[in-house]
Amino acid sequence: MSRLQMDLPGLTLKNPIMPASGCFGFGKEYAQFYDLSLLGAIMIKATTAEPRFGNPTPRVAETTSGMLNAIGLQNPGLEKVLENELPWLNQFDVPILANVAGSQVDDYVHVAREISKAPNVHALELNISCPNVKTGGIAFGTIPEVAADLTKRVKEVSEVPVYVKLSPNVSNIVDMAKAVEHAGADGLTMINTLIGMRIDLKTGKPVLSNRTGGLSGPAIKPVAIRMIYEVSQAVSIPIIGMGGVETAEDVLEYFYAGASAVAVGTANFIDPFVCPTIIEELPKLLDDLGIDHISECIGRSWGKDAKTINYSS
């Protein structure tokens, strides 16, 4: 067995590297650069029941070592994804995680039921960072009970394992993780973006027309590592980690924190070859560190007495 292979619920990953949802479209653009079968998996762009245009532009802004986006879940809608995008991806030997979004439980359930039937969709990724219009815009991802209920409902209909994507914009990430684990989640993916904002001094207005956006990139990596470190010790389902990953070293830092696979988002925009480059560099890095198989790295940093004391500053 390859020293990079990882087996996760629903997913046999030839390596634990996959592009993160929303940062890779449905793969077509990156297929110009390399064979997508090289990837461990692909997390496709969020799919909603109906097509969405998303937010007005500008939709991205730069921050120090990070970027903000407020794409607003633009996607062609479930039907077109099933008709065009997934069949096209079928030419590659790579499992797909379908990122499912919505603004009410029924939307999620509908998309999850249908998209989980696609032959190359090996798992769902529930994007619970969107506002729940029914409960007044409070995100599914910030109230454990609401997230758990959604997870349960989606689990009931999904034909493939369900990973829940956690939002970092919460007081207690461990509570969220435990709630969705308890509700039947097969795995976690984390973290989604932190909410942030930039203001243009010349216009006096927020740079993004949506005003706030999701902060991604290297700036957020320490927050992701901390949350994965805490959550991985509190749950027994695997975690796909993400947030600012750019190098093979970053991947191992995620594994050490407790992740079992890693997704690469923003870095694809900076270097379209970043995923295959990381995959190529990982074995050498494992050699340097004297590690046989990457799975040995999972949770290396936990230590014996892994309780953390947040008496910082």
Binding site: Q74, I270, P272
Partner: protein, 259 residues
């Protein structure tokens, strides 16, 4: 094909206030197809600035594998770019997007090229190729003020060239649209690149003409994957139909997309 290459700086010089002309050399030049395409630059190995910067291709020298960009040093990224010296490397992703359709103008016809500020550069390569095709070119170039004007003589060598400045410090005072009307310029095709208000003014006057405009939008990936740079299409101005400036554009037929 889109390439990613560390290209070598051949030369860099200031050609107007805060405006730099940068010549890069590398294999990527072989892939450039049309005037109006752009490149996406990573100006440093550091994570700050994090994102690439889109800059148009202003001149292509296929023999020497070189191309020229002209850009305004403004924010962090372009400021870092302007510090590059001959021999330094710049990480270039490109060529990107679809440029101006040369075939839209036949030999013997007249093309009007209208540029505004840092929208002027891609018109230079376009103009040269049109002239090589036997097209008569007329340029109307708008700038803020005289210190911002660049490449005037170069354009003059290719065809009639009118410069307009907002403050009247060089050429005519006013906007490019004023100049076109005042001079009574007659043309078969219109090609334009510049700030959105300028493009909107052109669209208002020439929406029924054979006109092509190049758009600007904030970009993430530059290759069509992130949905940062979309615009609505004109036949479905509030619906789901869209175009991506980076991969469907940056050049569109006038009236194709909502400005």
């Amino acid at each position: 094909m889109i390439k990613k290459e560390n290209m070598v700086v051949v030369s860099q010089r200031g050609i107007a206030e805060n405006i730099f002309e940068l010549i890069l050399e590398g294999e990527l030049v072989k892939e450039i197809k049309e005037p109006g395409q752009f490149v996406h630059l990573k100006v440093s190995g550091s994570t700050d600035p994090l994102l690439r910067r889109p800059i148009s291709i202003a001149n292509v020298d296929k023999i020497n594998n070189q191309f020229t960009m002209i850009y305004r040093s403004e924010g962090l990224g372009t400021r870092v770019l302007s510090s590059k010296l001959p021999g330094d490397l710049v990480d270039v992703l490109g060529p990107l997007g679809n440029g101006f359709p040369l075939a839209a103008t036949e030999s013997g016809e007249t093309a009007l090229l209208v540029g505004g500020g840092i929208g002027v550069p891609p018109l230079y390569e376009l103009s040269q190729q049109l002239v090589a095709n036997g097209v008569k070119v007329i340029h109307v170039l708008g700038f803020q003020t005289s210190s911002a004007v660049f490449y005037q003589e170069k354009f003059e060598k290719l065809g009639d060239t009118y410069v307009a400045t907002v403050d009247g410090s060089c050429g005519e005072k006013g906007f490019v649209t004023d100049v076109i009307k005042k001079q009574g310029i007659i043309f078969d095709t219109l090609y334009s690149c510049g700030p959105t208000p300028m493009l909107k003014a052109l669209e208002a006057s020439y929406h029924d003409r054979n006109a092509y405009i190049s758009l600007e939008e904030r970009m993430g990936c530059g290759i069509g994957a992130c949905f940062a740079c979309v615009c609505h299409t004109a036949e479905d101005p509030t619906g789901f139909s869209y175009k991506k400036v980076c991969s469907d554009g940056p050049v569109f037929k006038v009236g194709e997309v909502v400005l």
